[in-house]
């Protein structure tokens, strides 16, 4: 199995196949992260594509070894989300109709239940302060290590740990009975 660093190196050198591999590896995670942040399917789709177009345009300037590729890519996504929210700030309350396609079943009842779970998560996340939302999204949704989260957000690991802890405590209360 080819390791990711090698693929990234090839992509930096202009290898299209390599970049497509990275695209395949990260596409779902980037989409998931963006969706949880913006909570709208159409916007999440647009932003996800923009992230990869920006990454394509900037891959030549990526410096291997300085920052993990995942942190670099999620930093693009993070900035896209921040810009989007800043420009189109509004009440982002969602309903089941806004829920994205979910996996696991074609049974309408199961799909509805899954959408309800996602909608509950969205609602709970919206109750958190912005900094906690960012950390929880990157840590538990994007599944990034704490060091990368700290780099993406430009915060110390200690700060991220505290935000993660407090955010989880709040989510526990908000999702009480559903965990």
């Amino acid at each position: 199995m080819v390791n990711e660093e090698h693929i990234v190196q090839q992509a930096v050198n202009g290898n299209q196949w390599a970049f497509t591999q990275l695209y395949d590896i990260y596409f779902d995670r980037i989409y998931r992260y963006i969706y949880v942040r913006v909570k709208k399917q159409a916007e999440a789709e647009d932003l996800t594509q923009e992230v990869f177009i920006k990454a394509l345009k900037a891959i030549g300037s990526y410096k291997i070894g300085k920052t993990p590729f995942s942190a670099w890519l999620f930093r693009i996504a993070h900035n896209q989300v921040i810009d989007h929210v800043r420009k189109y700030a509004r009440n982002l309350e969602t309903s089941l109709d806004d829920a994205p396609p979910t996996v696991g079943s074609e049974d309408p009842v199961t799909i509805t239940e899954q959408r309800f779970e996602v909608a509950e998560l969205n609602a709970a996340m919206m109750e958190l302060p912005a900094a906690q939302q960012e950390v929880i999204s990157l840590r538990f949704v994007a599944d990034l290590p704490i060091a990368e989260v700290a780099k993406i957000l430009g915060k110390s690991e200690g700060t991220v740990k505290a935000l993660q802890f407090n955010g989880t405590v709040s989510l526990r209360k908000l999702l009480a009975g559903r965990i």
């Binding site: 202009g14 299209q16 695209y23 596409f27 779902d28 998931r32 913006v38 159409a42 789709e45 647009d46 996800t48 990869f52 177009i53 920006k54 394509l56 345009k57 900037a58 300037s61 990526y62 410096k63 300085k66 942190a71 670099w72 930093r75 693009i76 900035n79 810009d83 929210v85 800043r86 420009k87 189109y88 700030a89 009440n91 982002l92 994205p100 396609p101 979910t102 996996v103 899954q114 779970e117 996602v118 998560l121 109750e127 302060p129 912005a130 939302q133 840590r139 538990f140 599944d143 290590p145 780099k151 430009g154 740990k161 505290a162 993660q164 802890f165 989880t168 526990r172 999702l175 965990i179």
Partner: protein, 399 residues
């Protein structure tokens, strides 16, 4: 205790990421097992719920094809000229776009169908994706402005069609896209004007609006240099005076035919949009009337902004403007927040005035934050009655 639990929680979260079990973690810390278990199960629950979110298969397939097409296009540009100028890229645009479209879609019929797709149709995402690539590779501000004007007209027609069919959700989503196109066109026109003004005043351009600017991808540990404050703008002012130019006259001179033509074009499209939307509103079902009215409001407010943006009313980059957020970032308490290191300048003009402080503090839950796309009628009234300075300040802040 809380601090210790934080560290234990983090360690266990990392162990779970690596495949360890909750039970093993709890056995490692029996003294805090009860609290720890609740927290770990919460984190796993969040992860589980989020894992249900998946992109639509049809979107994923089209996006991938689109991305590969964009890669091909980018590679083609490099082959045509290793160090292309903006001028040469513009000339290479038309044939290259054709190649991209051919690569993206397996047949001309599909491409044609996508180009005519409406927001409620399966091919609409392909249409939007194609537009995004066009926008991503519209390198000059003039090309961006013209393309966004064209897309705004397309959005308007889509809104009208959806409105007459009573599809409120699509009307709302397309209205947001319309607003994005109008904003992007406006920003591009302003950038053209700024560039020309700088040339007129013989002031060097800011690197942040140069398409080729490539900031470092990830922030280094050192704090970022503070963006220039208004009161540090002595040097350019001196340059102006040294050149013996009266700033007001220079602004007049800098208003070229190109900018005027683009403004008029955008103005005409907006007027046309309003007519289309008004007509659609008259025949639309009641449930979509409000959404259409919102689109009309957006168009009207944009038109008013454009009318207010005569050259002498533009924010003057060489003057102190204490009201402009773009030039007065708040002092940040976070030493690492000084940079937005990724290469956003390649296509996003909004990078120009965004402060890192703002980025870190934005919340998705705050409906009170103003948006350029959500001007209320009160804002329109204000912009009609505002003074020149107020208009300039507002415009700068928005950007």
């Amino acid at each position: 205790m809380s601090r210790q639990l934080q560290d234990i929680f983090e360690e266990c979260v990392e162990r779970l990421r690596q495949g360890d079990s909750i039970e093993n973690c709890l056995n490692s810390y029996p003294e805090v097992a009860a609290d720890l278990e609740v927290l770990l199960r919460t984190s796993l629950n969040v992860n589980w719920r989020a894992s249900m979110v998946q992109p639509r298969p049809e979107f994923k397939a089209r996006a991938r094809a689109q991305f590969i097409g964009a890669q091909q296009y980018a590679a083609q540009l490099k082959e045509v000229r290793p160090r292309p100028t903006i001028f040469s890229l513009q000339r290479a645009w038309v044939p290259a776009l054709a190649v991209v479209l051919l690569l993206i879609f397996s047949s001309v019929g599909t491409a044609a169908a996508a180009s005519n797709a409406m927001p409620d149709e399966p091919l609409y995402p392909a249409k939007i994706a194609t537009e995004q690539v066009q926008l991503a590779f519209a390198l000059s501000n003039e090309a961006k402005a013209e393309l966004n004007v064209k897309l705004a007209e397309t959005r308007s027609q889509e809104i009208a069609t959806m409105a007459t069919q009573g599809k409120t959700e699509q009307v709302v989503a397309t209205t947001e896209r319309l607003s994005q196109n109008l904003n992007a066109a406006e920003i591009a026109i302003q950038n053209i004007e700024r560039t020309e003004i700088r040339q007129t005043l013989s002031v060097p351009q800011e690197s942040t609006i140069t398409p080729s600017a490539q900031p470092e991808p990830i922030m280094p540990p050192a704090p970022a240099p503070a963006p220039p404050r208004p009161d540090n703008s002595e040097k350019p002012q001196d340059t102006t005076r040294a050149a013996g130019k009266e700033p007001g006259l220079s602004w007049e001179k800098a208003s070229t035919d190109k900018v005027e033509r683009l403004r008029q074009s955008l103005n005409a499209i907006i007027s046309k949009n309003v007519v289309i939307l008004e007509n659609a509103k008259n025949v639309a079902p009641d449930q979509t009337k409000q959404a259409i009215q919102e689109a009309i409001d957006i168009s009207n407010s944009k038109q008013i902004e454009l009318q207010n943006q005569r050259p002498e009313m533009q924010p003057k980059p060489l003057e102190n403007n204490g009201n402009s957020k773009g030039f007065t970032p708040e002092p940040t308490g976070n030493k690492d927040e000084g940079q937005r290191p990724l290469p956003q300048s390649t296509g996003n003009e909004n990078e120009e005035t965004q402060t890192p402080e703002k980025s870190e503090s934005i919340t998705t839950t705050d409906p009170n934050k103003t948006s350029t796309t959500r001007d209320t009628s009160e804002n329109i009234d204000k912009s009609l009655t505002s003074t020149t300075d107020n208009t300039s300040s507002t415009d700068t802040t928005k950007r």
